[in-house]
């Protein structure tokens, strides 16, 4: 294991009812890197992302965060260090925006209310929602909800942020506001793993694109390399389809 890896995923495998969804995936992330996972539906991208924080428990393989192995015993502490952004936001619907962003600081990290409030307001400003602190999730658009959920993850001061198709549930016009926030985070040096079909984001923000299919990593490389001269026929075909429709 390389010492400077924030996140180190080693040979992760997962099967459902005998169907192998992940057939031994390894990759790593240095501080400040953004890696984008792409691939057709059913290729295992989301399962891989969920295996990283054990929302789905892998059958085999190891995951290290900052050199510490992610295990059942320390899972709550490890998850607190990994932000997770869901496709369908999953904001706590009974809590105001402000409370959504501070509750886990208080209840998980033990931060005092005053500090948590300051931090929450700062993160809401960062995603452009400083004026929505008192609103409730159901009063917000999808794009706004997703930005709150990003603020909620950021407020925990995570080592890495995991995005699971963060714009797939959004109208095209709302996608942009979320993608802009993610691009800004990438520029600011946040460490991120992003599962997405947003090729503009992948092209502009990714340090590396990982193309997955059938539970394997087919190919990985810089956006330039992947978009201009990917080695594998399959990668080219996939990117062409995305380019035509996306």
């Amino acid at each position: 294991m390389a010492d400077d890896l924030i996140l180190d995923v080693q040979d992760v495998k997962k099967a459902y009812d005998g169907l192998e969804v992940l057939k031994g995936i390894s990759f790593g992330l240095r501080k400040g890197e953004t890696k984008v996972l792409i691939g057709p539906s059913g290729s295992g991208k989301s399962t891989l992302l969920r295996c990283i924080n054990h929302l789905t428990v892998p059958d085999a393989g190891r995951i290290y965060l900052n050199g510490h192995e992610v295990l059942d015993d320390n899972i709550d502490a490890m998850r607190a260090r990994m932000g997770f952004v869901f496709q369908d936001f999953n904001l706590f619907s009974h809590l105001s925006v402000l409370d959504n962003v501070r509750i886990c600081q208080i209840k998980v990290n033990g931060t005092d209310k005053e500090t948590a409030t300051q931090r929450a307001k700062r993160e809401l400003e960062r995603v452009g929602l400083g004026d929505k602190a008192d609103a409730y999730p159901a009063e917000l658009s999808g794009g706004q909800q997703q930005r709150v959920s990003i603020a909620r993850a950021l407020a925990m001061d995570p080592d890495v942020l995991l995005f699971d198709e963060p714009t797939s549930a959004l109208d095209p016009e709302l996608t942009g506001e979320v993608v802009r926030v993610m691009q800004q985070l990438a520029t600011e040096g946040m460490t991120m793993v992003v599962v997405t079909h947003e090729m503009s984001f992948a092209r502009q923000a990714a340090d590396e694109i990982i193309f997955m299919e059938n539970g394997h990593i087919v190919e990985q490389g810089t956006p330039d390399a992947m978009f201009t001269d990917s080695v594998h026929e399959r990668t080219r075909a996939f990117l062409n389809v995305i380019a035509e429709h996306g």
């Binding site: 998850r79 999953n90 886990c104 209840k107 159901a138």
Partner: protein, 222 residues
């Protein structure tokens, strides 16, 4: 003395009976709430072993499947042979334990109506299961539960009158005493009693609905 003078004179007794009914109601609802919540949490979040789950299923089926009047007889006449138990205690136990079976169902469906993503997001943020239940799932489930719970509240108010059959001196029995002592006037006396039950029911429901409105989440469709 006409019946209205009698009613006026004996009204304190009716109020005393109403007081007994209210204490019985509060006690049985409290038992039902605590035990019902415990059953619900064990069912949903407890070990999925038969040793734990089967007794819960049996409990629910028995207490929902036997008429309350039979339960009252069993708890009073049946148990009084074994332990020293007053009619009032027997009524609280029989009705409280039965209410627990119904309340556990109310809570279970309320918890299950909270989308799974809420628990998942809470866990993904590092909350333990217990913290996620307490801070995220429970507050949402509680809001879903108030509506159905008003039904349970209303039916239990009315059923407190059944404690009459094992000799608890609650509102209905006080009314019966007045009828017996005046030899008649069933319609008038029971009309007054009906009105008292009705007022109690409306007052309780109004409070519960006010509570529901107070907890309503802005922008959230019911």
């Amino acid at each position: 003395m006409n019946i209205f003078d009698v009613l006026l004179r004996d009204f304190p007794f009716l109020l005393k009976g109403l007081g007994v009914a209210i204490v019985l109601l509060v006690a049985l609802l409290a038992i039902g709430f605590l035990l019902g919540m415990a059953i619900c949490l064990l069912k949903l979040y407890g070990p999925k072993t038969r040793l734990v789950q089967w007794p819960l299923v049996v409990y629910e089926r028995v207490f929902r499947g036997v008429p309350i009047i039979i339960m009252l007889f069993i708890f009073f006449y049946g148990l009084s042979g074994i332990v020293d138990i007053s009619a009032f205690t027997a009524a609280i136990l029989a009705m409280g334990l039965r209410s627990a079976a119904y309340q556990s169902q109310i809570f279970r469906s309320a918890f299950q109506s909270v989308p799974a993503g809420q628990m998942m997001a809470a866990r993904a943020m590092g909350m333990s299961k217990a913290k996620a239940i307490r801070h995220i799932v429970f507050p949402q489930a509680a809001r879903h539960a108030i509506g159905p719970w008003t039904n349970e509240f209303s039916s239990e108010i009315k059923e407190t009158s059944l404690a009459y059959v094992i000799g608890v001196v609650e509102l209905t029995r006080q009314a019966h005493y007045i009828i017996t002592s005046t030899q008649g006037n069933v319609l008038t006396v029971f009309a007054v009693v009906a009105l008292l039950y009705f007022i109690l029911n409306r007052a309780g429901n109004s409070l519960l609905y006010a509570f529901e409105r107070k907890l309503a989440v802005p922008g959230f469709e019911k």
